[in-house]
Structures are given as structure tokens and as C-alpha cells.
């Protein structure tokens, strides 16, 4: 394997932003409804449990990546051999493309519902993808920079949420732990799939300077998103009644509807537009990972596969038209994400440690 030149690598602390920005995607706007359906006002406990789960998986991932120059493709090859490993690589390529598709389509739906019902989906996607291509074409360092801005720039939204405080009732959380363990675990499952995206580190790990040093930044990134999720959960639960939560599709945005400033009457539009900044690195990183894995498997030049993948997805997106289809798209992505992150990765970890032990003995 050819080694990666130093100027194409990213600093370890950038991992913090990449991880956080992939975790805060379109799911961030909608997760309260699903978790409230499962565990009502107790769902905030699930946020904490789900946060811990992400840390565990991240720990496993870094253990797997400990070997020099390891990434998902090399791990697959070690565990499954060349052909089967290649097949699994391709499955991951599909997964990343699916993620890219879901994130883009759900964002477009958001724009359609909240701002422009008559938006031309194809044109919007086309121009959005031109931007994405421009970023991905410039390499991982640019994507890292985008991630940085996608976290730092919208950070002010955290304070905007405080405007809802006069309309909140924090006693809603009592009595704490009024739901069964089963219900809370169900909510945890719903949440773990909202918080996925960090598994991309398996692919771009070789591009990090002093890989293992980035470990703490990755964990910080996870902690940061857990706290952000917890913050919005607590605020939205104090703001909405349980029934309201179960009916509101985008609670995070609906909360912003109450914000009124002297110079701007409605804030959710700013929120929707800001969300574009948040999802750009999200989409870019999925695309980059998919094309990188393709390159490692079938030796297609990354630039070519990026164009190819974008073209295919550009054709698929306008075919998904109704809320129901988008919702289903989301659901399947959640299911696949859950299987990959919480079943497949631990399994891979076990297999890899067995393989490594056997090799050592030989």
C-alpha cells in the first residue's frame, strides 16, 4: 500500500469536528418524536445510555485501528480474505451512499415543508452536489475544514434555544424513571441510530497525523454530541407536552417558532438555512468515504467514482416524493446503521482479534 503524504493528512484535533458534524445531521431535528413515543418524558435517560454506547463502539474501533496503516479495507482483507473482504467493502460503499442519499433527501424535505413547497428537487440537488463535488474534489483536508465551520458557525443556535425558557416547565420530567427498562432501551435504540456516522473513522483513519493521538479527540467529539443531544432533549421535553411531541415531526425547529426578536420575527427559517451548513460536511464525508473504499477495492480513481456516485444519487433523489417515502428511507437507514454500528463492528472486532492472535502464534 502506498503511504499517504503528510500534506494530505489532517491534524488530530480536526477529528473532533469531523465526528461531531457527522453525528449531528438531519436526525437531530426529528429524534425527539421517536424517542418520546418509546419512553415519554423519560427518554433523556436514553440519551445518556446511547452516548455511552457510542463511546464503547469508538473504543473498539480504535483498538482495531491500532496496527500501522490499518483501515476498514485492510481489516476486511485480514479477516475475510481478498474476495469476501472486497464484497464487504462494497457493502460499506453502498451504506455510505445510502447515508448520503438519506441526509440530502431529508434536508430537501425540510426546505420543502418549511420554506419552499414548490422547490424543484432536481435543480436544488444538482447545485448542492456541484458544491459537494467541489469540496470532495479538494480532498479530506477541505472536508475537515468544512466540518470545523459546520460546528463552530451554528453554535450560536444553542443560545437561541434559551429564548424558549419562559415557556418551559421542567417539572415535566417527574417522576423520573416512570417507564420500564424495556421502554427506555427501545428509546436508546432509536437514539443510537440518530447518533451514528462516527464509523467513518474506519475509512479515513490513515489520513490522520499520528492516528492514535486523535483518540481523545474522537471521544471528545462523541461527548460533545451527547451533550448537545441531551441539551435539546431536555429543552424540548420541558417545552412540549407528551402528546405534542408525538405529533411534531421537527420538534427542534418547532421550538424555534416561539423565538421572536425585534429585528427578526421568525427564527426557524434561519435554522433551516443554517442546517445546510451543518449537512454539507456530512454529505461530503460520506461521499469521500464511499469513493475511498471503492478505490481500495476495485482501483477506480477517486475523482471518477465521486462523479459517478453523485450522478446516480442525483437521479434517485427526485424519485422519492412523499413524506411517507422519505420517512421509510430514514427508517431503513436507521436499521442498517444500527446493524453496522452495534452488531457488525463488535463482531468484526472479535474476528479481528482472533485472526491477529492466530497470526502471532504462527
Amino acid at each position: 500500500m502506498q503511504s499517504i503524504e503528510a500534506q494530505r493528512k489532517i491534524e488530530p484535533f480536526i477529528v473532533f469536528f469531523v465526528i461531531a458534524s457527522t453525528q449531528i445531521g438531519s436526525g437531530f431535528l426529528v429524534f425527539q418524536r421517536t424517542v418520546a413515543k418509546s419512553a415519554g418524558y423519560d427518554a433523556w435517560i436514553a440519551v445518556i445510555i446511547a452516548g455511552i454506547m457510542t463511546h464503547i463502539v469508538m473504543f473498539l474501533i480504535y483498538k482495531m485501528l491500532k496496527e500501522e496503516g490499518a483501515d476498514l479495507a485492510s481489516i476486511h482483507q485480514q479477516v475475510f480474505g481478498k474476495w469476501l473482504g472486497g464484497l464487504f467493502n462494497l457493502l460499506f460503499v453502498g451504506y455510505f451512499c445510502y447515508g448520503l442519499l438519506t441526509v440530502t433527501r431529508t434536508y430537501i424535505e425540510l426546505v420543502q415543508v418549511w420554506m419552499f413547497p414548490d422547490l424543484n428537487v432536481f435543480l436544488f440537488t444538482l447545485f448542492f452536489f456541484v458544491l459537494v463535488f467541489y469540496a470532495v474534489n479538494s480532498g479530506l483536508r477541505v472536508i475537515g475544514g468544512l466540518s470545523f465551520f459546520s460546528i463552530v458557525l451554528p453554535l450560536y443556535l444553542i443560545f437561541i434555544f434559551l429564548f424558549i425558557l419562559p415557556y418551559t416547565d421542567f417539572r415535566n420530567f417527574f417522576p423520573i424513571y416512570d417507564h420500564s427498562i424495556k421502554e427506555i432501551l427501545q428509546a436508546t435504540k432509536d437514539l443510537t441510530v440518530v447518533m451514528i456516522g462516527y464509523e467513518i473513522i474506519l475509512v479515513f483513519y490513515p489520513f490522520i497525523k499520528n492516528g492514535q493521538q486523535s483518540k481523545k479527540w474522537a471521544h471528545f467529539g462523541l461527548l460533545f454530541t451527547t451533550l448537545i443531544y441531551l441539551y435539546t432533549t431536555v429543552l424540548s421535553f420541558a417545552f412540549f407536552s407528551e402528546e405534542q411531541l408525538k405529533e411534531t415531526i421537527w420538534p427542534t425547529l418547532s421550538m424555534l417558532k416561539i423565538v421572536e426578536l425585534p429585528f427578526i420575527e421568525r427564527f426557524e427559517y434561519i435554522g433551516v438555512i443554517n442546517w445546510n451548513i451543518i449537512i454539507i460536511p456530512n454529505v461530503c464525508i460520506y461521499l469521500w468515504c464511499a469513493s475511498r473504499l471503492l478505490k481500495r477495492t476495485v482501483k477506480i480513481q477517486q475523482r471518477k467514482s465521486v462523479v459517478g456516485l453523485l450522478f446516480i444519487i442525483l437521479l434517485i433523489i427526485p424519485q422519492l416524493e412523499t413524506r411517507y417515502q422519505v420517512d421509510k428511507l430514514d427508517d431503513y437507514f436507521s436499521d442498517i446503521g444500527f446493524i453496522i454500528n452495534y452488531l457488525y463492528i463488535p463482531l468484526l472486532f472479535v474476528l479481528l482479534s482472533i485472526v491477529r492472535k492466530v497470526k502471532k502464534r504462527q
Partner: protein, 353 residues
Amino acid sequence: MKKYILLFLCLILSGCVNKSIIDEVDIERGVGYDEASDNKIRGTILLSKYNEDGTTENVTMTVVDETSVNILSRLQRQSDSTIVYGSLKLVIFSEAIAKKDLIEISDAFVRDARLGSRMYFVISEGSAQKVLKGEYGDHGNATFISDALDHNIKHGDVPKTNLHLFVYDYTQKGRTAYLPIIKKLNQQRIDISAIGLLDRQGHLVDKVSVKDMFYLKLLVDKYSGGSQVVKLDGDRATIRSIHSKNKIKISKRNPLEMSINIKVEGIIQEYRGKKLTQKKIEQFEKKFAEEINQNTTKLIKRFQQLGIDPAGLGHNAKQQTRNFDFKKWDDEYKDLTVHVKTDVTILESGVVQ
């Protein structure tokens, strides 16, 4: 070359969405619903036309239809410019509508992403159309009425309300909603005449008059502002509440009993009588507390008889009970004993003795 591509892109992109130029659209600021014959609804919308000299002209349009959503589309046909409704401030329901279809109509306002959740829902005594047809203030009727509600919520006796809180109260188990009731006095003035109480189905069942509004607000809301006259052996003091809190607790189980602790901090605004000594102030505190106890207890009894719960006793009981059973609560609520305990502190008595 790059420049031309950019220019080209701008041209295509600007064609992507509909534009609305503010001078060329009608801005809907208020809407009112009245009952019409054959189970239909008479909808009136209030448009604000902003004139060049800075004044606002009120234009109303009325149409009768079966559903509230059709009303706007029918009015669109009668108007020469598009009616936009993103800055809708005020929705008025006549009493007859409030007794029947308020919740069905309100669905459209909750569902639409264009509408803010700070708009006011109010009930009108008499026809909503008539209220919208007045000429209040210089900034348009909707602004006038919503400003009147605004400052009465902040400084007066009207409990906090808006679209979000209404839906919150209506959907929260163990709580029922309330809405302010307004009355048109004459062509230039309106009055907030009562608070309408809605039952769990969202139908108007009772009204709390101006006299009791103060006590209602103590029960349902964090309260500040508003004043009340207290009489004590021929002396009279006007006490202005500046801060209040209520705590609703389960004081005893089997059979269930609840207690409401109200804490009021106030100042004496006006006093008529002999010298105002510390002892006198303490007597006034006690008398005021007693009056609050009596009147709030009366209100709660009234709520219990009607099976409504604007104070959220059920919601509070749920917060203090594991595996709370709302069915059982519904049976218990009617005969529930509620103790009200009030603690009044008079902080200041003005700049003279």
C-alpha cells in the same frame, strides 16, 4: 469564462422559487370565525394595508364555507393580489364556534409551518367579524388587539397565553386549556372581558369574569403585576402583586388530598385610612391572604364541578406519583379536597408612611 458561468447560474437559480414582493401582496394579520347557517363557517380575514403616509388601513373580507381552510382559498380568488399569512397575529373565534369546532379549526394553524407559535387565539363575545371590523389604534386592528393582550399578560390579570401554550395545555394530560375573551366596546375600543375555560374536548364551558381573573392567574400562571383592593375595618389599600408563585402538591394519599401553596409578594400602591403602621401592614397581609384563599378555593370547586382543570392539578399529581392512573384520577378529581394556603408579603409601602 468563470464569470459567465456564474452569471448563468444566477439566472437559473433566481428562477427556482416564487418571489413575493411586499408591495404586491396582501398581508393577512387576523382572522375570525363565526357560525353561519347550515353548519357552515363564516370566515373573516383582516388585511393590513400599509399606506405611504405611515398609517395602516384595515381591510376585511368575509366568505362562508364548510371548512376553515377553504376560506382562504376562496378569498384568494376574490383578491387582486396574493394573500400571504406568515405574519398572522390573531385568531378570533366567536363564542358559538368556541363551543363547537374550535379544535378542528385550530389544526390548520398548528400544522402550517409558515405560522409562528406566538400568535394569539381569542374568543369574542358576539361576532368575530364585528370585532375585526373596528378601527382600533393607528397600527391596524390585529396589532392593537395583540398588543393589548401582550401588556395585560405582562402587567395585568390575563394569564400567559399563545398558540403554543394553548396546544400544550390542551394536549397535556391532567390539564385543560383557557383562552382570553374580548368584547368590542365601540368602534375604537375593545376590552378583555373574561377568560374562557375549555373542557378536555376543547369546548368552551365556563367564563371567569374580570373580578376573578386575578385569582385565576395566581392558579395557572407565574404571576406579576395586577392589583387588588383589600378592605380592612373601613381602611382601604390597593395592593399590587409584583411576584407570585404557586406550588401544587399531594398532601395526603388514600383518600387523595392536594394542597396549593401560593406565595405573593406585593407593594401597597394606594392607601386610605389611618396611619399605615407595620402592624397594619401585617393585618393587610393576613386579610389579603384570606381573600386569596377563599376566592381560589371557590374557583377550584367550580372547576371540579365542570370537570375541567386549568390549574393542572392532574398534571401535578402525575409528577408526584409513579404509574399514575388517569382513569382513576378522573373519578377522584370531582370530590378531591384541595387546601389553598397563601402567604402574602408586602415588601414596600411607597415613599410616604
